[in-house]
């Protein structure tokens, strides 16, 4: 707050109450900044680096949307949210969009009145156990103590899984992934369960990753994606199609390296439509013609973002798996740009 005059601030607040809010796109453009909700820190997905710059897989989505809407990838105000504060932050209008590895579920979509604009990572809940425990399947975990993050869908999935298999467990509730690691390593719990991506990242940070195994069972579907509020479909479209642009670009082979050449025009009409050299897709969204090109210029297409942040050459070392393009047997699939 620039002005310390509390009373003045409250007067202004009272006046602002009378001003009706326009669409989110107009708000963002007027503000010149995109308020994007991210996690307070999740390895590979969102965390500030030593210079205080946010980096990560979810962060890249925020930056792409900011670039598409405002033409500036750095015009993002990252609002850190926890598992408990994320939905209120979005519902109250504190943030314009939430890109915080949030699972797309029925009740969040319908009951909490949010709109998931796609899936940027297909995850699933898995189990990690020490190798010397000798467990080969999650169904052998009867009576185990399980470290589990509270306030997430993993908690509910775990209960469901153990109930359907008629086995018992003892939960050890924890707040964040970083708390789970020492607890698990010290043996406070036999099993650590979270999304498979999180397990891989956690295991990669261990001193002896080989001493721990991730069990083959994936007990849930966790489609993670960005989301916006109900009721502003134009804004939802922008976020949805920015993500789709990143995915389509990978499918069509548009990368940050060859994009400038392709901007000159190619003989593939879909690439031309994507990059805005042909057709009026940008105008339909209320954006510039080269909106998708700007989004792609930030950190490349979906595949490039994956590789730099969480791919096999990073310490986290996730393989594409379900998150490969549909042509390569994955689930990543964008509707056509037409």
């Amino acid at each position: 707050m620039k002005n310390s005059l509390i009373l003045g601030a409250m007067t202004v607040a009272g006046l602002a109450a009378g001003v009706a809010t326009a669409g989110t796109l107009e708000d963002v453009q007027a503000r010149g900044k995109l308020n994007c909700g991210v996690t307070t820190g999740l390895v590979g997905f969102a965390a500030p680096d030593a210079n205080g710059e946010w980096q990560g897989f979810d962060v890249a989505v925020c930056r792409a949307v900011a670039a598409a809407v405002l033409g500036d990838a750095s015009a993002v105000e990252f609002v850190p949210t926890t598992g408990k504060t994320r939905f209120t932050a979005l519902a109250s209008g504190e943030i314009d969009m939430l890109a915080r590895n949030t699972t797309w579920t029925f009740s969040r979509d319908v009951d909490l009145k949010f709109e998931f604009t796609g899936v940027n990572y297909y995850d699933g809940q898995g189990f990690m156990v020490p190798a010397d425990l000798g467990v080969t399947s999650a169904k052998e975990l009867d009576g185990a103590t399980v470290c589990i993050q509270t306030g997430t869908t993993t908690e509910l999935n775990l209960a469901d899984f153990f109930r359907t298999n008629n086995i018992s467990y003892e939960p050890v509730p924890i707040e964040t992934n970083s708390e789970a690691q020492p607890l698990y390593l010290e043996g406070a719990c036999d099993v650590y369960t979270t999304d498979a991506s999180g397990l891989a990242a956690t295991r990669a940070a261990f001193e002896n990753p080989g001493d721990h195994v991730v069990l083959p069972e994936i007990i849930s579907k966790e489609p993670l994606g960005p989301l916006v509020r109900h009721g502003d479909n134009e804004w939802g479209d922008i976020v949805r199609w920015t993500l789709n642009a990143l995915i389509t670009a990978e499918e069509l082979g548009v990368t940050s390296a060859n994009m400038s050449d392709m901007m000159a025009g190619t003989n593939n009409p879909e690439i031309n439509r994507l990059l805005g050299t042909e057709g009026t897709l940008g105008a339909m969204l209320g954006l510039d013609a080269d909106w998708a090109a700007k989004a792609l210029a930030v950190s490349g297409n979906y595949g490039e973002i994956f590789e730099t942040n969480i791919g096999e050459n990073t310490p986290i070392g996730l393989s594409r798996g379900l998150n490969a393009q549909w042509k390569n047997g994955g689930l990543i699939y964008s509707p056509p740009f037409r």
């Binding site: 620039k2 820190g41 965390a47 850190p80 209120t88 109250s92 990073t314």
Partner: protein, 488 residues
Amino acid sequence: MTDQHQVAYVRTEMLPEQAPPSSQQGVFKWVRENLFPDVVNSIMTVLALLIIYYLLSGFMPWLFGGVWTADSIRDCREILDAAGREVGGCFAVLTERWNQMLFGFTYPTDQYWRPFTAFLLLPFAVTGLMFMGLIAKAFRILAIVQLCMAALIVVGAMAQGSGLGMAVTPAILAVLAFAISTLAASGTPIVRYLILMTALYPFVAFWLIWGGSILSPLFVMIGLIIGYLVFKRGEAFGFAAGVALGLVATVIVWIIGGQIAGLAPDFLAFEAVRSRDMGGFMLNFILGTVCVSLSLPIGIVLALGRQSDMPIIKIICVVFIEFVRGVPLITLLFVANVVLNYFLPPGTNFDLILRVIIMITLFSSAYIAEVIRGGLAALPTGQYEAADSLGLDYAQATRLIILPQALKISIPGIVNVSVGLFKDTTLVSVISMFDLVGMIRGPILASTEWNGVYWELWGAAILLFFPVCYGISQYSQWLERQLDTSHR
């Protein structure tokens, strides 16, 4: 009585003193009496030594074999492996993220000196109040502390090759502290100026930490001064009327000042830093200092209100205290962060730190009110009656007779609440603010480089928190001894 000199077997002069036997003096005596007085205690001593050795043999190699420069935890492990060391801390995370732990990750790096200066000025603001009789000595110690700080920074800057400029402030302040000490020692009545310094400090600190034009804090200060002057005049019509008039005057000045400050946002301005960009230990310190100093006067008012004969005031105070005490702090913080957003019109950005400060202050003032009520209740009725019999009115009696005694009794309780409150400020990490704990739990442990470093980070957090809390408690014990007027 016979003459001693005549008796052959009686000495004529004293023998020289002999040293006590070696078993009855020095280290031997101490060791035998304290460590090995009997069999049971000897066994205990040996056991304790073994345990200490066991702990240190694990801790020392970890501490001294640690890695201080590396890019990531994997790098650390490689360096340790290459050196053939079994254990060793990965302290490189502290080297790389130290500034983030102190200031958060969004505070502009080239402006670190501002909160640092505010922090160094804090003892100047409080020493005058806290060590009433011993100003010369206290400021001499303060000068030494500031010099040590400067020296530390110089050493650190030598090691890192940058940041030498930070040492200038503590060096200047050391000279200032020494000057104050000398003045006080020579008998100059300096306390008045020191209290002026205390009164100025909040505004200077705000200006330093948040930046922006100096006009905003200046007008807030002017408003308070004018309010006080009006109160002094209005006191003739009674205490309550004076307060009311003073408040009105203050608010009028604030509103006018707000307009003027809005016109000249760049007048004597530092680069403005938003509350959202505050973080690290600095945030804990801001919240702790502000909330403790605000909740003390509010707590006093609440405690007095609870004892009032006027039913409405009494009911309001009782309901407030009991309600706030019946709610966990974390709930209040969630209200501040999450629920308030629903009530405020969309798009309003009611400062988050301010919201949190209000909530923590409400919380701790309810507790302090109860502590002070205990102090009030402990006063014998005779004190109240004596005040009445002297013809003092309520305000005078409270100010001059009741409160000085009640507050003295309440010191341990107040300090207890303050220390607890300072540590409770780490709870803001749950509402996604990046205080010291939030920084460690969130950004640092979630970075790909440092995911998996725990002991080093939490150890550093302990090293930052412990001296402050221990210092507060030692001070309170000293204060109790100073104010002890009982005739035991």
